[in-house]
Amino acid sequence: MVALRPAVAAGDTLPAMESDAELLRRLRAGDEQAFVTLVERHNGSMLRLAASFVPSRAVAEEVVQETWLAALRGLAGFEGRSSLKTWLFSILVNRARSAGVRESRTIPVADAGPVVDASRFGPDGAWLSPPEHWIEEAESRIDAVKLAELLRSALDGLPARQREVVVLRDVEGLTSAEVCGVLAISEGNQRVLLHRGRGKLRQVLETELGGGSR
């Protein structure tokens, strides 16, 4: 968007990117442009997270809108103890969970199966069918767009709880403590869900990119 920013106060340098805290200060002072900048910064992540809870794009957009409105209404109570992103995600998860229930999407618990199929190990527990190489192939054999599509559809294929954890941890880069807070789950539960989810993504990449014919 090509628009001149309002003049900055004397002594300020014009930062390449204003911090969330600064934008919040301006937002509290009634600056609509600060809101737009925050939306541009966080909306994509929120939409992606919402989409991991609810089945349709339209509902996800609705959840994101509700989240922004709830955030504006709760602005006075946000003390900056967590990052803005984590706070927004917490609001969103609450909204999305109730919307998800409305849409009657079931939330399965973590499946208990092994992360690598048992048939790939011998009776002594050693690899019979070891991991096929694909790391180098991932970026040389298929282009970045296809790789992103592959990962997105692999994420979509995960059970909801695993997808939520993997999206927050590995896609959004939250810490495990932040994820536990946002999703209201225990550290141990978070780890199990992350383990299963990552394992399945790896398997998809191996199946799609590995050299063999499995």
């Binding site: 009634g30 609509e32 809101f35 737009v36 939306v39 541009e40 909306n43 994509g44 992540s45 939409l47 992606r48 957009e61 994101v64 809108q65 922004w68 409105l69 504006l72 209404r73 092994p114 992360v115 690598v116 048992a118 190990f121 009776p123 002594d124 527990g125 050693a126 690899w127 070891p130 991991p131 190489h133 694909w134 790391i135 991932a138 790789l147 992103a148 990962l151 997105r152 994420l155 993997v166 590995d170 896609v171 880069g173 495990s176 550290e187 780890r191 992350l194 383990h195 990552r198 394992g199 993504l201 790896r202 990449l205 191996e206």
Partner: protein, 87 residues
């Protein structure tokens, strides 16, 4: 078929793949970490598996969020104005 003993036996590959996340999360005990690293030191397949998990995490972190559509932008501007009007 041998049943793996619970105590202090060297880890086998099938156990190692189930411990990878706890390892990366720093959630293993010191002795658990030592046993796992000892196994990795002698097992190229599990080392490859761990590298693949790390690569999976790295690739997931490169997924970019969607851009804001003009429709969403105007919807959210509307949300803002509605909130302002609440006074």
């Amino acid at each position: 078929m041998r049943v793996p003993a619970v105590v202090r036996r060297d880890l086998v590959c099938q156990q190692v793949v189930e411990l990878v996340t706890a390892y990366l999360e720093g959630a293993l005990s010191r002795s658990g970490r030592r046993r796992l690293e000892k196994h990795l030191g002698g097992c190229p397949h599990c080392t490859e598996y761990l590298a693949q998990i790390r690569e999976t995490i790295r690739l997931a972190g490169r997924l970019t969020p969607e851009d804001l559509t003009p429709q969403m932008r105007s919807d959210l501007t509307e949300v803002y104005r509605r909130w302002r009007a609440e006074g």
